[in-house]
């Protein structure tokens, strides 16, 4: 799979999309095995088909967000989360279209909206749709509504279970098709699989994590308001990882509380006995990192992510582009490459507000002694005697430094969303193959 991904990511993407389509359409395909019901007309059947597709899409959202390693390993959690966001909106539109068509074709069905008088199957549909609506609104406008991440995540899960459960209850209540044997078998399988994923993600996995605790060994201040949090495995071997990957960190509370946060590892991927994270104090949780005492218990779920050079053994070299704390996974990549005596050329373009904000500056300078590494600092506010680059990482600056043979390198970008978008556009304009550009998003919420 890895070699296939390296040489033909489009093939892998196509296979996953076909699998997604097949799973979504399977309930309808199974229906075709049964004789068609008495003539209800095209639009009623179309509405029913949309209802089943919407329900299948809703159930599949649990798979997309369950951190299934095999799926995640192909494209990374950030891509899956984005796919989850887009397909959820499509599912919501399809779920709304399902009754809307009925209301137009059979206006008497509008009476089903009369909640006190409506039968239970209609009430479940209304409640399920409202749960789905609440999910969409609180996710799209979470920041504007000032909903903190942790309560939002808990409510999101509850609403998701409610929406799918009520939608399934509605489908059983209507019972037009679910009385059919293979249909009942299939939907029972889908619902059981979704339930298992919820139980696994929310209970089994956190319980397994409690068996492998870590302890905080040190909290070290770095430049740029970044703190290195060093963890040591307690009573187990820890894990090695592909440099550039990240893990979900739970600190000082049980993992069952589901209050975890994703952070990139900054240490060597080959050292399981000491795992370090570079954490910038920008939010409620991250601002408290500096106060964490050595000896505090921690739990890790990981490693995750595909932002790693390990997947591109055949690449002639790498261009690494970091903005601010985005240097964290890139530091891990460079440190591990140095320890592995990697002889390929590395170009690091590192954008920071000022020279004093350049995190891991000394460590990076030390790495130039052991690696074929060129570092280009780009300062937004440079001091008077600064002779290096200033401003932003734009097309002109990139054209000056990246190799003429664009496709001979793989490009790794980790920065704030605005910079990532600008750099991605600039690389595209400079004819860097889109399959050679890899990005790590901070914001998974």
């Amino acid at each position: 799979m890895r070699r296939l991904l390296m040489h033909s990511p489009i093939v892998v993407a196509t296979l996953w999309i076909l699998a997604y389509l097949l799973l979504t359409l399977l309930p309808l395909l199974v229906l075709l095995l049964h004789p068609a019901p008495s003539g209800r007309g095209f639009w009623i059947e179309f509405s029913v088909a949309l209802g089943f597709i919407g329900l299948a899409m809703m159930a599949l959202q649990f798979v997309l967000t369950a951190r299934v390693n095999r799926i995640e390993a192909s494209y990374g959690i950030d891509i899956l989360i984005q796919f989850h966001r887009y397909t959820s909106l499509v599912a919501f539109a399809i779920v709304l279209a399902h009754p809307a068509i009925l209301f137009v074709v059979q206006p008497d069905t509008l009476e089903l909206l009369n909640f006190p008088q409506a039968p239970w199957r209609a009430r479940m549909a209304i409640l399920g749709t409202l749960a789905f609506l609440a999910m969409v609104v609180t996710t799209i406008w979470r920041k504007q509504l000032k909903i903190p991440y942790e309560p939002w995540r808990a409510v999101h899960t509850i609403l998701a279970v409610l929406a799918v459960g009520l939608a399934f209850g509605h489908a059983i209540g209507v019972g037009n098709y679910l009385g059919l044997f293979w249909k009942a078998v299939l939907w029972s399988g889908i619902i059981l699989a979704s339930l298992w994923l919820i139980i696994y993600v929310r209970l089994v996995k956190p319980w397994l994590m409690t068996k492998k605790p870590y302890v905080v060994e040190a909290v070290v201040p770095q430049q740029g308001d970044v703190w290195t949090l060093a963890l040591r495995p307690l009573g187990h071997d820890g894990f090695t990882f592909e440099p550039g990957q990240f893990a979900w960190l739970t600190l000082n509370i049980t993992p069952l509380s589901m209050r975890e946060h994703p952070f990139s590892m900054s240490s060597s991927g080959d050292r399981a006995d000491r795992i370090e994270f570079g954490i910038k104090a920008i939010g409620d949780f991250t601002s408290r990192i500096k106060d964490v005492k050595p000896g505090t218990k921690a739990y890790l779920d990981g490693p995750y992510g595909v932002f790693t050079i390990d997947r591109y053994e055949d690449s002639a070299g790498f261009v690494l582009i970091a903005g601010g704390v985005g240097i964290t996974p890139i530091h891990s990549i460079l440190l591990t490459a140095s320890q592995r005596h990697d002889d390929r050329p590395f170009l690091l373009i590192y954008a920071v507000p000022s020279w004093d904000d350049a995190t891991y500056k000394d460590e990076l300078e030390a790495l130039t002694q052991t690696l074929d590494l060129e570092i280009v600092y780009v300062l937004r506010k440079a001091h008077d005697d600064w002779e290096g680059e200033t401003g932003y990482v734009d097309r002109t600056l990139l054209a000056k430094y990246i190799p003429h043979h664009r496709g001979s390198r793989h490009y790794f970008v980790c920065a704030a969303p605005v910079m990532m978008k600008a750099v991605e556009r600039a690389l595209f304009d400079l004819e860097v193959p889109v399959t050679n550009v890899h990005m790590e998003h901070f914001d998974l919420a």
């Binding site: 359409l25 075709l32 004789p35 088909a49 499509v90």
Partner: protein, 58 residues
């Protein structure tokens, strides 16, 4: 760029899903009259058989 590619993929898959829903609805309505015709034919066959049987008895 990656997200815009993904957006196109999601738009494509949505079209396929909605298209299949339409195909499904069309198939269900297309198959149904054939079944009715079959059942009409079989009932006519049964009717003919019954008449022959009654004629034979009569």
């Amino acid at each position: 760029m990656r997200y815009s590619i993904m957006l196109q993929i999601v738009a494509g898959t949505t079209l396929i899903l909605v298209g299949f829903a339409a195909l499904f609805a069309w198939l269900q309505n297309r198959v149904e009259p054939v079944d009715r015709k079959n059942s009409d034919v079989s009932s006519r066959v049964v009717g003919v058989a019954c008449r022959r049987y009654s004629l034979a008895l009569g």
